[in-house]
């Protein structure tokens, strides 16, 4: 039974690491679309700050930042997934979810 469990989760680990290797290029591509600040835990965008983004930044600072720092260098292709995950996990309102999405992927 223990061996079976190990095999299962070894498979999970394998998929995780394999995906990480395959998608490294995608992750690097995404970094070109964003300009990370040199502060390490803040994400600033190359676009001028617009109202929608400022609202999204406020949502991030008030909600997400209560628990964790901003992850760096993620792909914009998962911005919607992150926003939805945060909506469920942090009980964000629908409006805050949209604002957060604009901040993560303007």
């Amino acid at each position: 039974m223990i061996n079976a469990r190990l095999k299962i989760f070894a498979a999970v680990l394998g998929v995780t690491l394999a995906s990480g290797g395959c998608l490294l290029a995608a992750q690097n591509d995404s970094q070109g679309t964003k300009q990370e600040s040199n502060q390490g835990n803040k994400v600033h965008h190359t676009m001028p700050a617009e109202t929608g983004q400022q609202e999204g930044q406020r949502v991030f600072a008030e909600n997400c930042s209560r628990c964790h720092n901003a992850p760096q260098g993620f792909s914009p292709r998962i911005a919607g997934t992150i926003s939805r995950h945060m909506r469920v996990r942090a009980n964000l309102s629908a409006e805050d979810e949209r604002a957060l999405l604009r901040f993560l992927n303007p």
């Binding site: 999970v12 680990l13 964790h68 939805r84």
Partner: protein, 339 residues
């Protein structure tokens, strides 16, 4: 056994079967990889571990998410090392966003009692490796529910918001989805201008002793998020306790350049538990215990942190020193390379 295999197959399948996701809604893989050490009373353990998380949106209203943990624990002995391993799904849940104010959750989920279980158990988030001493109170043994949950933001404005969660869990002796029959909920107010959140939780164990649990919490942070205070108290019929934690994140102060010193993050936590009786085996220390945790974390660029702490635990059973160190890397990327 078949249940565990099925759950794992689901976990893996979700990563690759939904290739039609919109450009921003690609399934993601996230999580943390860490190597941590713990020395309690002179006895040291070394633990490499990985905590992967998958989130898969399906259409505009559904999402499936899951988190697992795999670790190996090494303990030195006279001839080498003893070691043991542990691997398990932490949760596997489906979310249906039914309306602006309602999300329905089904499956195996983290119990929304208090704050620690849902918010701080990811190893890439928590400031300490260990949970607080009082955390087991109200978590129904495993901290996991198997059943349904409703949650959402009932009201939200620029000045205040109110969010809620309520669950019902069935009893399950399945090794992978162990849970107790219980119900409960949590409600909280958040005041954005003051960055203040206050909330309360209630839980009722619906098997065995039918025990009630209540809890309350207060979180606050400064306007720039540089200083945070988190606190929580909880009470059951056999024990009660509290914890509070403060940390200072100089990186959130944008007034100056980033340098070596500003990446440090000092942390302090106080825990205390009180025994009413020893009629239940609930994970809380068997005798009144207090513990002070002094931590110093370091935030590298690229999602990497060093966690270190010294704790002094005071108990009639004996006082001990606890030293912990660890390095954590957080990963976050799409589940496949797309357009």
């Amino acid at each position: 056994m078949p249940n565990r295999r099925s759950a794992s197959i689901v976990f893996l399948s979700l990563l690759g079967l939904f290739g039609t996701a919109a450009a921003q809604d690609t399934p993601l893989l996230s999580g943390g990889i860490a190597f941590v050490t713990n020395t309690t009373g002179g006895k040291t353990t070394y633990i490499p571990l990985i905590q992967p998380l998958a989130a898969v949106p399906l259409g505009n209203h559904f999402m499936v998410e899951s988190r697992a943990i795999v670790l190996e624990q090494f303990t030195p002995n006279s001839t080498g090392y003893d070691h043991s391993h542990f691997a398990a799904l932490t949760y596997l849940q489906g979310d249906y966003i039914a309306s602006r104010h309602l999300t329905v959750v089904g499956g195996s989920f983290l119990l929304p009692f208090g704050t620690y279980n849902e918010r701080l158990t990811p190893l890439w988030i928590g400031n300490f490796q260990d949970e607080s001493l009082a955390e087991p109170i109200g978590q129904m043994g495993s901290g996991i529910g198997l059943g349904g949950q409703v949650r959402g933001s009932l009201y939200s404005s620029a000045r205040t918001s109110f969010s809620y969660s309520a669950w019902f869990s069935a009893r399950s002796a399945n090794q992978q989805f162990s849970s107790r029959r219980s119900s409960g909920g949590r409600g909280s107010f958040y005041f954005p201008e003051q960055r203040l959140e206050i909330g309360a939780s209630y839980g009722r164990l619906l098997q065995g002793t039918h025990e009630n649990f209540v809890g309350a919490y207060l979180w606050w942070q400064t306007g720039d998020g540089g200083f945070r205070v988190r606190s929580e108290t909880m009470r059951g019929e056999h024990a009660y306790g509290y914890w509070f934690e403060g940390d200072y994140r100089p990186l959130h102060d944008e007034s100056g350049p980033v340098n070596f010193m500003r990446r440090f993050e000092p942390v302090f936590r106080m825990n205390q538990t009180f025994r009413i009786d020893n009629a239940a085996s609930d994970g809380v220390p068997a005798q009144n215990t207090q513990q002070a945790d002094f931590g110093l974390d370091y935030n590298f660029p690229h999602n990497t942190r060093i966690l270190s702490s010294y704790s002094r635990q005071f108990s009639p059973a004996g006082n001990v020193n606890i030293w912990e160190t660890g390095m954590v890397y957080r990963f976050l990327f799409p589940a496949w390379k797309g357009h």
